[in-house]
C-alpha cells in the first residue's frame, strides 16, 4: 500500500493506493502519526484507488478511527469501490465509521 496526503483547511485527504493487508502495519503506523500532526478535524481516507483490503486492513482502519477520536478528530472513509466497498459492507463498518460515497 502507498499513500499521499493532501492537507487542506477544512480536511486532510489521504489517498490510499494498492493493497491494504496485515503486511502494511508499518505504513499504517506512519500514516496515523502523520494524520495526528495535521490541523484539520476531518481526516478523510480516499479509498478510490485502493484495490484490495483484508480483515487486518479493516482492523487497522478501526485503530486509525480510534486514534483520531482520542484527539477529537473525525475519520471518514470515502469513495470505496469494488472489492474494498464489498468488504466494508460485509464487515458492517458503516455501524462504526463514517462512510461517504
Amino acid at each position: 500500500m502507498d499513500y499521499g496526503i493532501e492537507d487542506k483547511d477544512q480536511e486532510t485527504v489521504v489517498r490510499l493506493r494498492g493493497r491494504l493487508t496485515f503486511n502494511d502495519h508499518g505504513k499504517l503506523r506512519a500514516l496515523i502519526r502523520e494524520m495526528l500532526q495535521t490541523k484539520a478535524k476531518r481526516q478523510v481516507l480516499d479509498l478510490s484507488a485502493l484495490e484490495f483490503v483484508d480483515s487486518a486492513g479493516i482492523g487497522m482502519l478501526l485503530i486509525a478511527r480510534e486514534e483520531m477520536s482520542n484527539v477529537d478528530k473525525l475519520l471518514i472513509l470515502r469513495a470505496a469501490a469494488g472489492q474494498v466497498k464489498r468488504v466494508l459492507t460485509v464487515a458492517q463498518l458503516n455501524k462504526i465509521v463514517a462512510i461517504e460515497d
Binding site: 502495519h25 484490495f52 487486518a56 482492523g59 486514534e67 468488504v87
Partner: protein, 266 residues
C-alpha cells in the same frame, strides 16, 4: 457451518475422488538439473519446459474444470516463485524445494496429484508472492467467475492463508484492542517471527478441487492449532474467520484448527 449434521455417504464437503491424476509432467524452476532428473525418475513424471505441452493436453477440452493434463512445478528461490510465468497454465501445482528431502518432495508430489490445484510453500515465500491471489488466478483460469464472486473468493482465501501464516505458522497473536500500541506489538512480533527461519520456513499447503457445481479449498499450516472461541472480543483482529463464513457456502476446521476446508458454489 453445520457441525451437528448427521453423517452422509457423500457430502459436498468431501474431497472428490481423483481417479486419474491430472499431473502429467514435472518442471524445475531454479532447481539444479541433476536433482531434477533424479526426481523426475523417482516420481515417474517426464520433464516439461515452458513452451512444451504435456502429452495429452487438449486445450479445447469439453469440461474445462477436468481432463486437461497439468504440470507440477518445483520452485527454488524467490525470483522463480515471483515470476508470473511460474503460475501460468499448464502449471497447476507448486512445491517449494527449500530444505525438503527427496522423500518429503515425493510425498508432497503425491498429494499434489490428488488435487486440481496444489501449493506447498514456506511461510516467507507464500506471504511474499501473495499466495491467495495466485491461487484465485489459477482457479479463474480453470473456471472464469464474475468479478464479485472472484473478489469474494480471493478475500476468503486470503483470510485463510493469512490465518495460517500469521497465527498458525508464525504464532503471532492478533491485535488486541484498538490502539497504535496494539499495532506496534503486532508489527514487532510479525517482523521478529518472519526473520526467524524456525518459523518462516514452516509450510503452508493449499489444495483445490473443482467439480461441476462447486470449488473445495483446503488451507493447512504447521502451527499449534486453533479452537474457535464461543465468544470473541473484537479488537482490531478477529474478523477473518467470520468473513470467510460470510462468503463460503460451508466451512470446517480440521486437524485441531490446523486445516480449514471451505466450499464455494459455482
Amino acid at each position: 457451518m453445520a457441525p451437528d449434521r448427521p453423517p452422509v455417504e457423500h457430502s459436498p464437503m468431501d474431497r472428490p475422488p481423483m481417479e486419474q491424476p491430472r499431473v502429467a509432467a514435472l518442471c524445475g524452476l531454479g532447481v539444479p538439473a541433476e536433482r531434477l532428473e533424479r526426481l523426475s525418475a523417482a516420481l515417474r513424471l517426464p520433464l516439461w519446459r515452458p513452451g512444451d505441452y504435456p502429452d495429452d493436453s487438449p486445450s479445447d477440452s469439453a469440461d474445462p474444470t477436468r481432463a486437461a493434463a497439468t504440470v507440477l512445478a518445483l520452485l527454488d528461490g524467490l525470483d522463480t516463485a515471483e515470476a508470473a510465468e511460474s503460475w501460468a497454465r499448464p502449471i497447476a501445482a507448486w512445491i517449494e524445494v527449500g530444505t525438503l528431502s527427496d522423500e518429503a518432495l515425493a510425498a508432497a508430489a503425491g498429494r499434489a496429484r490428488r488435487a486440481d490445484l496444489f501449493a506447498f510453500l514456506t511461510t516467507a515465500t507464500a506471504n511474499h508472492v501473495h499466495l491467495a491471489a495466485r491461487i484465485v488466478r489459477a482457479i479463474t483460469d480453470l473456471h472464469p467467475l464474475p468479478d464479485t464472486q472472484r473478489d469474494d473468493m480471493e478475500l476468503a482465501l486470503h483470510e485463510a492463508v493469512s490465518n495460517a501464516l500469521v497465527h498458525g505458522n508464525l504464532q503471532v497473536e492478533g491485535m488486541k484492542g484498538l490502539s497504535v500500541a496494539a499495532l506496534e506489538r503486532f508489527s514487532q512480533d510479525l517482523a521478529a517471527r518472519m526473520a526467524d527461519p524456525l518459523f518462516a520456513n514452516r509450510r503452508i499447503e493449499v489444495a483445490v478441487w473443482l467439480d461441476a457445481d462447486g470449488i473445495l479449498v483446503e488451507v493447512a499450516d504447521e502451527g499449534t492449532g486453533y479452537a474457535r472461541p464461543e465468544h470473541m472480543e473484537f479488537g482490531a483482529s478477529g474478523r477473518g474467520l467470520d468473513m470467510i463464513a460470510a462468503i463460503a457456502e460451508e466451512l470446517q476446521l480440521l486437524d485441531g484448527g490446523r486445516r480449514i476446508r471451505m466450499r464455494f458454489p459455482l
